[in-house]
Symmetry: C2
Subunit: 805 residues, 2 copies
């Protein structure tokens, strides 16, 4: 299994070289090899970067190289303490990958000077591990997601090992603290392995860390309790010779690799089904190890003062300059780089070849490995309106679940569903016909759909579901995250960071497109029958559209067939974040599959059959809608209007792709101005029934000619545990209120407004009274009343007692 | 210490009564005491609620009652599995509190019927623990915040014990997983105690839970590793007699109370400074214990099928109706309630008196205990512009930190600061003159500002900082959460839930106002000098204003003196969420303290001295701004305009209270239409330099007369690690671009536009070139150039190398 061992002095040389290159990036504008005496002019004017975490990141990299060379293991390196950007970049340059990807930064003295200069420099590279960093799948800004990314990357990736360095600051974050439990979902037979290396350097920005100040027995108990087999390696304190630390860490790392191999062999060849106790390493080293010990009379190494730039005024303070010179020279650069500034041959022994270099591992540029999904036909799961009639009532997400079942069957190692215990609640449970929920723990006779190799991961943490899918996508696979609409805000910030990753990746030439991140939000604001105000929040859409138009897409399919078409489109797309909001409750199917395809492709259309306009004539009013429940209410409102004001010409527009509303200059999906005016008219009143907060529609349309005539109804933060129709009335989104809105805004109906609005108010009052008395909605709003086709039950049909969270 | 013991059969009777009342709430419209044969008409039409978690919540309540009666302990009960709403309400009714607070629900058969009917009924009460629930400080919708609320409640509350029941689903969430570490911040001498009771009933909605399927030795290792002394109590499985479980649980609970008393005594009287190993209990009971064992041939008790409503079709299915009847009668209601439906006297022995009842504990209605802050004078920390000149450069948050230091000194047990390791980075570290960071772990000689009784809590988890402050405020104290602007999105969802709590509380008559939740967001989007794109996101403001106008307030103080005034205002307020965005980098002070008071009170004002308008004449253009950096850029732009177009009449408006922009009909702080038109003119161009995403200003002003003339510049998602002025240019918010915006929009300047805009573009290009070459901003944008007062350095002054995250 192992070739000739890489000698530890070579590992040490690699480490010193990486440390030298890291310090150089933080400080030096020029004179990279110190061939001239160091002067203030060689120093950057703004000293930015984070030294504290870097030496340990470099240490781990150097040692992983040794094992990769010896064993040809397929390793992706994840730098949790992303502030250690200079370290990761330094190793990628030493690997040779950096120069291959960025030709202007060759592997010599010129390249080294440019490498140093560009770091945290205007027009250069960010100070953290980022999309620009070769070998990285983890942004190093917002902390806490390294371990969940590491686990996502190895699912269905049996040869891969992610070595995940976790900072002790990061380890305090919420997401990291629950990520340790992900070992319970990892199947040693068909997934790869994660080796967590918790680097306790003792400090975060300005404080000691929790885990660095508990005794070793608590530390070991904690990770034993999390289900790991922990090993603690400590070293480098009080000036200890690094060679002694190399010896200890090499043993621990090799042992961890051996243990992983043994676990995988037992599962793959020995038939073991026990949940393994995977190894993990706690590596205790001084913060800012090998940097200045004392600066201006204050201790720096092994304190929080080493977090960022230990010598802060090098340009102006000769003593600092002298210390920097000594610090850089302490790595003996003359032994590490030749006269041309190239890494010396000695380092070759610790450098893996080709794709085995961690900075070049194709798993960290997953688009290279991406295989397109095999998309099964939608037809078998479409609601057949020829046979069942327009308005056929189904649970939209259940239809989708059946298609997803076929999709999983057709893509057994390339697609996964992640959710916070809501896959069945969101009506996708038909997928369990062909797969199960991943589960390595104890299984009881009463359990259903649990298996080692299940393709669905359910864990009651939106953060974990989000992070796993990110890791899975970034390593070249496909997937879906399904969640309740309200609680998706839990991952607002993770979404932000992922969207920023995609925004930045688009400018990195060598990054290949990956499959889009698709959210399916169900159990939405209008149907929280079991739950209450806490479960009612449609604001994720507002959050999402703050990100660049080049990466975000928002869809509100009005029925099951449109949902199928939308999901197919999203899962085939690349490099986007798609958000689909769709109901799980029985709802009328409004479009045939073919109509849905056209509607989906258009993003919004006029539905002649739902409106009352006359071909060739201007409508009196536009009734627009987006979202399944608002669509039914808007249709019902038009039916009431048809009865009350027979000659009123209503144009009916349904919006499925929300970004169509924005101007084409703002979003690639946006309608241009003429098209928008043609659809929404330049001057007629528009009454818009919207799924979310009304302000979002105004925000998207404020540049439109007719904006001042757009009147939007939506969620206005009125919520409680009540019936579906009562929720609509509470928020003034019900059919009666929409009728009043229309009549109020059409000038020639002004005379009729008072009488009609009194009657509509009467309807509302009697509905409210009915609901308060009976505890359920009156049949005429549950049923098909007012809709232009004969269906048994439509729209806000009520079902009690099912399995919701 | 203990009075006569409450006999366990009485505890069991209480438990049965609470279970009976819980099932009744889920199912019964009428016939609450089953004095008539149960018929379908007695059953609610919509069966909503969650049974699975309820019996264990009731068990813990009954046992806590016993210990409170015996020891007079001051206990707040936190129901983490908030889905168990019926249980908490049942106990509050049995306590008598419910009837005292809701007079229409007396403690008799009539009250019982109303109690049952209102639950999850239109117009009634929510199905979860909520603000409407007596004794609750934890909303039971979005899971994961129980334990952090429990810890927040006991800080500086030495007599209080929070008994926190944690569900095993909830225990998988990110926030809960890191909350266990909060024991490291709890000072046994001056804080109260938290007793976590992890109830493992085995299942979440549709899956087993992680912690229920690991062996006891891992479970005990985990909690030992978290620093607790765990005890596992299991019982009730396979039909085990509940009395045996009562016996075991009573012993474990009493032991835990003893251990807590011993720990507190050792710290308070014995001088112990060791970090205690606080007790915690793992309580394993069957999900849906005492409910139907089998329904329709499938096992229900002790499976996920017991999560919600075990018998789903009681109205239509006679077998289900029969099972419900048997289930209700299994609790022997005739032994528990007298002929009038009142709880029998037997139960009195398990009922604490007065405020010791957990549902009546004043700590859970913190406004009852609220003492106003003693607010020290701002004067000593104001920048004296008489002496230093307008434009005196200071770090605004550092001035605030000095005032906060005085505030902490004046309110030693009533005010705390919480932050994710960013208090010093955000320049508030002068508070360490009078307090420290709470820390119970090991302290090394190199450490600074760590102490058992510190009033600052720093932990690298925004979730913990948020939750601790929520718990602290809801129990009647005051505080501040300071964080980086970009990462505050981590708590978007927690903010949502807290805002909803405040929105709902406003309608609960007996809830007393609590101190507002105040965010101080610094290290904002425009000054991420050390960091990059991942640290640049001003979108929290967009998120916040989706919540009801009655609870949210947003402030963007332009300088240090206005920041002081704003902070004072926010910390004195009640029942709001205040968001303050303020810079920490050296910035010009623009207003005297007196001017700042007036400006703060107005929320926005015309700054004559910064504009060029002529009294009594209409301005040509309005230049508006909000945020510290945009304010300086807007002022600089006006100075350029003054030079370039001397006769241009520019009105200069600065906005500190963002909600002033909204209409008075939408927000209580909103300007009415006439005032807005008077300030912003009905028809002149408005160029608005804004701190955040431009769409927010449009969203707030879209109803305004002059909206179509408002042109906004702000963050447009262009970011990287670069210099401050380069960031402004990247986003078209720099002074030169603002000048071009103005000139383009003033009709009479149209002829001059081409030439001027070419020059301005030239300025931008030369700045970019300078920055790319030198790695820092050119002196004329760092310094005072263009501002109407002589200062050494203003606005975007650059400081490198300081201690940022």
């Amino acid at each position: 299994m192992t070739s000739d061992a890489v000698p530890l002095p070579v590992v040490d040389a690699w480490w010193r070289a990486a440390n030298y290159l890291s310090v150089g990036q933080i400080y030096l504008l020029d004179n990279p090899l110190l061939r001239e005496p160091l002067t203030p002019a060689d120093i950057k004017p703004r000293l930015l970067g984070h030294w504290g975490t870097t030496p340990a990141l470099n240490l781990v990299w150097a040692h992983l190289n040794k094992l990769i060379v010896e064993r040809s293991t397929n390793v992706v390196y994840i730098a949790g303490p992303g502030h250690g950007g200079p370290g990761v970049v330094a190793n990628a340059w030493l690997d040779g990958t950096y120069s291959e990807l960025f030709h202007h930064i060759p592997l010599d003295g010129t390249g080294m000077q440019r490498l140093f200069r560009q770091f945290s420099f205007p027009g250069g590279i960010p100070s953290h591990a980022a999309p620009e960093t070769p070998g990285s799948i983890n942004e190093g800004g917002e902390l806490g997601y390294s371990l969940v990314h590491a686990y996502g990357a190895v699912l269905d990736n049996p040869s891969l090992l992610t070595a995940c360095v976790i900072g002790d600051g990061e380890a305090e974050t919420a997401t990291l603290a629950t990520s340790w439990h992900l070992n319970k979902f990892l199947n040693p037979a068909t997934d790869g392995a994660v080796l967590p290396i918790l680097n306790l350097n003792g400090y975060k920005i300005a404080n000691p860390t929790l885990l660095a100040r508990i005794p070793d027995d608590e530390l070991e108990a904690l990770f034993t309790g999390y289900g790991y087999s922990p090993r603690v390696v400590a070293g480098g304190f009080d000036g200890e010779d690094p060679m002694l630390v190399h010896e200890r860490f090499a043993v621990a790392l090799a042992q961890a690799f051996d243990d992983i191999a043994e676990i995988q062999d037992a599962a793959r060849n020995g038939g073991s089904t026990a949940r393994p106790k995977w190894p993990m390493i706690v590596l205790k080293t001084p913060k800012g190890w090998t940097g200045p010990k004392v600066v201006d009379g204050l201790p720096v190494e092994n304190t929080w003062r080493a977090h960022q730039v230990p010598l802060a005024t090098v340009r102006d303070n000769p003593e600092h300059l002298k210390q920097l010179d000594e610090w850089l020279k302490s790595y003996k650069p003359e032994e590490l780089f030749d006269d041309e500034g190239r890494p010396v041959d000695l380092l070759d022994a610790d450098r893996p070849r080709g794709d085995l270099r961690m900075s070049a591992n194709p798993n960290a540029n997953g688009g290279l490995l991406l295989r397109s999904l095999s998309l099964p036909p939608l037809g078998p799961h479409a609601v057949d309106l020829t046979a069942e009639g327009r308005g056929a009532v189904v649970e939209p997400t259940r239809q989708l679940g059946r298609w997803l079942r076929d999709l999983i069957a057709a893509n057994p190692d390339n697609f996964r569903i992640f959710g916070p215990d809501e896959v069945a609640s969101n009506r996708l449970d038909d997928v369990y016909d062909v797969t199960a929920k991943a589960w390595q723990g104890e299984v009881l006779p009463t359990d259903e759909h649990l298996a080692h190799e299940g393709k669905v991961i359910e864990v009651l943490s939106e953060n974990l579901a989000q992070g796993l899918l990110e890791g899975y996508l970034l390593t070249g696979r496909h997937g879906l995250f399904t969640s309740y609409e309200a609680f998706i805000h839990i991952v607002d910030s993770m979404f932000n960071q992922y969207a920023k990753w995609l925004e930045s990746s688009a400018h990195v030439e060598w990054r290949r497109p990956v499959a889009s991140f698709t959210y399916l939000l169900s159990s939405h604001v209008w149907r929280q029958d079991h739950n209450g105000f806490s479960h009612q929040d449609p604001g994720f859409l507002d959050h999402v559209i703050n990100k660049k138009a080049s990466v975000v897409r928002v869809y509100l399919p009005p029925d099951a067939n449109t949902l199928l078409v939308t999901a197919e489109h999203c899962l085939a797309s690349r490099d986007y974040v798609n958000v689909i909001v769709a109901g799980k409750q029985p709802t009328a199917t409004l479009l045939t599959l073919d109509e849905a395809r056209v509607h989906g492709a258009r993003g919004l259309s006029i539905w002649d059959w739902a409106g009352t306009e006359v071909q060739g004539e201007e409508p009196d009013v536009v009734v627009a809608c987006a979202g399944d429940i608002p669509t039914v209410e808007a249709m019902a409102a038009v039916q009431i209007l048809k009865h009350e004001v027979p000659d009123l010409k209503v144009r009916f527009i349904n919006v499925v792709d929300l970004m169509r509303l924005q101007d084409s200059a703002e979003h690639p999906h946006g309608l241009d101005s003429d098209d928008f005016d043609a659809l929404f008219t330049p001057d007629k009143p528009v009454v818009f029934a919207f799924h979310g907060y009304p302000s979002l529609i105004h925000r998207l349309t404020y540049r439109r000619t007719n904006h001042s005539n757009i009147h939007v109804r939506g969620f206005k933060e009125m919520g409680t545990t009540t019936t579906p129709f009562d929720m609509l009335m509470l928020n003034d989104l019900d059919r009666y209120r929409l009728v009043m809105d229309v009549v109020k805004r059409v000038p020639r109906l002004r005379a009729a407004y008072a009488e009609l609005s009194q009657r509509m108010d009467g309807e509302r009052s009697s509905h409210r009274a009915y609901t308060r008395e009976h505890g359920e909605d009156a049949p005429d709003v549950v049923g098909s009343a007012g809709l232009p086709f004969d269906v048994e039950s439509v729209g806000v049909a009520d079902t009690g007692g099912d399995n919701e969270g």
